[in-house]
Structure formats: structure tokens, C-alpha cells
């Protein structure tokens, strides 16, 4: 089986992350996450941590709309 590229492996982690609420990230690793054989210390593991933190990134459209509402 051909070895997957880093971008492909990271994308699989992101797919799993986006499949559940952002609030779950605060509770640590889920069993699904442990299935991904990625050590937290590995290069990919470090990127997975960043992806986990990014889950729940605010929408820039929401930020702009709320600012406009506050200015009214």
C-alpha cells in the first residue's frame, strides 16, 4: 500500500475533528482520535494539535456582523 502524504494524513485527522462539536476538544483525546496512529510528539501530532485548537474558529462574517450591531 502506498504511503500517504503528510497533507493526506493531516486531512484525515481534520475530517475526524470536524465530525464532532468543538466543545469535545476541551475534554482531550477521544477513542476515534486514538485510532489515528499519530504520536502527539511527532511532527504530524504537533500539527494535529494545532488543527484541534483551530476547531471552532470564529467566522469572520460573524465577527464583522456583531461589530456592526454594536455600532448601531
Amino acid at each position: 500500500m502506498a504511503k500517504q502524504s503528510g497533507s493526506e494524513q493531516l486531512n484525515q485527522i481534520v475530517e475526524r475533528l470536524l465530525g464532532r462539536p468543538a466543545s469535545v476538544e476541551a475534554r482531550g483525546f477521544s477513542p476515534a482520535e486514538r485510532d489515528v496512529s499519530v504520536s502527539r510528539a511527532s511532527a504530524l501530532g504537533v500539527l494535529a494539535d494545532v488543527a484541534r485548537e483551530l476547531h471552532g474558529l470564529p467566522r469572520s462574517e460573524f465577527k464583522a456582523r456583531l461589530k456592526a450591531d454594536l455600532e448601531k
Binding site: S7, L18, L47, G56, P58, R59, L70
Partner: protein
């Protein structure tokens, strides 16, 4: 010397914030400056405590509306303005869950999320910083990161919209996340470097006192 600089920078930051708060108390139009400085913090705090993006947005809006309406009551006591916003956030979450519990009966009350859980300010600050760094990415990486993580679009959807291949989108996602990691590492290294002289001083002071 660096520790003194950091202390001075922190004092200057507090003074700036105090001036911003006072300006907004006199003229509510200036509140948007406080909003810009704290939006990511509040959102980072809230998004880990609620189950959906809709709730995160509703509650974030409620917090800033409440802060604006009650800004005149805020008294500067040297505590960062964000601490006041976090208190409003915790109260807003508690009120919401109590209301939901009453409306839905025991089902909602069975497992009420704790509004004070994971309230580590450093963790919230780190996540807010990461959110802010997204705006500093090259345009194509930023667009992909926003579409993927904020708009929660699939790789296929993004590829279609940006007229790129799925492989190219995955590469941009990878590079964007790696660039964010590098920015976060630089920030952490800078913080550690600034803390070192303070630690050495503390150790020396301990030796003298011990």
C-alpha cells in the same frame, strides 16, 4: 533588563487598556476598539463550553451586548478587561443552562456543562492568539483555513469554490496549519525567553534567602 522591559510593556498595555475603557465609557462608539481587542478571547472561551457554533455565536453576541450596556458600571481595579468579560461569559452560560434545564426538564439537567471548566486563562489566550494568527497567513492559505475550520466546508466544496484540485486544497491546509504552528512556536519561544531572566532572578533571590 528584559524582565524590566516585559514589566514595562505589561504596564503600558494596562495603561492603554485603561484609557480605552475610559474612552468607551465616555463615548460608546469607542467600544468597538475593546471589541476588536477581545473578540477572539471571548469566542475562544465560549466555543469550548457549548455544543454548537450557533450557541457560540449567540452567547458571544450576548456577552458583548451586555458589556456595552453595562460598561459604565465597570471600575478599573488593575484587572484586565478580559477578566470582566469572562465573568459575564460564565454568568451568561450558567443562566442559559439553568433556563434550558427548566424548559427541558431533567434531560438537560442530567449533564450540565460546567461554565467554569477549563477556564485556564493561558489556554484561552493561546487559542485566541491562534485565531488572530489566521489573519496573518498568505491569502490562499487563510482562505482555505477559514473555509475548512470556520465555515466547516469539505475539501471537495472548497476545491469547487476556489477552482483548485482537492490535492491542492489539502496542501494549502497543511501549509496553513504548519505556518500557524511556526507562529505559535515563535510566540512561545519569545515568552519563555522573557521569563528566563525573571526565573534566574527568582532563583538567585531564593539562594540569598535560603
Amino acid at each position: 533588563l528584559k524582565a524590566t522591559r516585559k514589566e514595562s510593556a505589561s504596564q503600558a498595555g494596562a495603561t492603554d487598556e485603561r484609557l480605552l475603557v475610559e474612552a468607551a465609557q465616555k463615548d460608546s462608539a469607542r467600544f468597538t476598539e475593546l471589541y476588536e481587542a477581545n473578540f477572539e478571547r471571548v469566542y475562544a472561551f465560549i466555543s469550548r463550553r457549548v455544543r454548537s457554533r450557533v450557541d457560540a455565536e449567540d452567547i458571544t453576541a450576548e456577552i458583548f451586548q451586555h458589556a456595552l450596556a453595562n460598561l459604565k458600571r465597570f471600575e478599573w481595579r488593575g484587572v484586565p478587561f478580559a477578566a470582566w468579560l469572562y465573568r459575564i461569559a460564565s454568568n451568561t452560560l450558567s443562566d442559559r443552562w439553568q433556563r434550558a434545564s427548566r424548559e427541558q426538564g431533567t434531560a438537560a439537567a442530567d449533564d450540565p456543562p460546567d461554565p467554569h471548566a477549563h477556564a485556564n486563562p493561558e489556554e484561552v489566550e493561546r487559542r485566541a492568539q491562534l485565531f488572530r494568527f489566521v489573519a496573518t497567513l498568505p491569502a490562499d492559505q487563510r482562505r482555505v483555513i477559514e473555509m475548512r475550520f470556520a465555515e466547516e466546508k469539505s475539501i471537495a466544496e472548497i476545491a469547487r469554490e476556489l477552482k483548485r484540485t482537492a490535492g491542492a486544497i489539502k496542501q494549502l491546509q497543511f501549509r496553513g496549519i504548519r505556518a500557524l504552528r511556526d507562529r505559535m512556536d515563535k510566540t512561545s519561544a519569545g515568552d519563555a525567553q522573557r521569563k528566563k531572566p525573571a526565573k534566574k532572578l527568582a532563583a538567585k533571590s531564593g539562594e540569598r534567602n535560603g
